[in-house]
Symmetry: C2
């Protein structure tokens, strides 16, 4: 495959296309990013990276209703970013202990410190 315009030498363009992330990689990365692309979920995720909490407390900390929190928790859980455990009447959520989560948490903290780009 060749691009309509040839701004780079063939070797280079070929290399780019070959090292391009696979569809699966793109899907999984964008799926994770998408979940954190919502401010409510980002807040919840951040909290759960630091502590394990029940739904009511998360709702209080983020000033949201329980159903709204529950909805976001489900999405985060489906994406594999958080996990849950039941203790009596309560469900406790916390960030999953995976490389993906650790990297996302790290980049969030780093970006949050920047605030102004550059």
């Amino acid at each position: 495959m060749t691009t309509p315009h040839n701004h780079h030498d063939e070797e280079f363009s070929k290399n780019i296309l070959e090292t391009m992330p696979s569809d699966e990689a793109v899907t999984s990365v964008s799926e994770a990013m998408k979940q954190l692309g919502d401010p409510s979920r980002l807040r919840i995720f951040w909290i759960l990276c630091h502590t394990e909490e029940c739904v009511i407390d998360i709702a209080a900390m983020t000033e949201m209703t329980s159903p709204a929190v529950s909805h976001h928790l489900r999405l985060l859980k489906t994406a594999g970013l958080i996990e849950a455990r039941r203790a009596g009447k309560e469900m406790y959520y916390k960030a999953s202990d995976t490389r993906l989560v650790r990297k996302l948490h790290k980049v969030i903290e780093e970006i949050a410190d920047i605030t102004c780009p550059d």
Copy 2:
């Protein structure tokens, strides 16, 4: 402020709330994540992290129409993730040279290499 349930000691809860990212930080981080939460934009962004390209070539590489690419480019540009320059009839786009962009690029490459979480 105290959470409805007290699963942690007061000192700890207080500390969490205080270190919680500000609204501005949350907004800016989630805005960046949101842009990369779309697979089409993630692909485009990845390409532009590696090379400068014109719209037609990006469209060819991603198998999208020019208007669709143009639309995503505008969003990425508004978010400060990419920049543009005109050369004759063509517009050339590339990733912005900022800390934010470098960190996002890095985490994308890292996550893409993982594929399977954990």
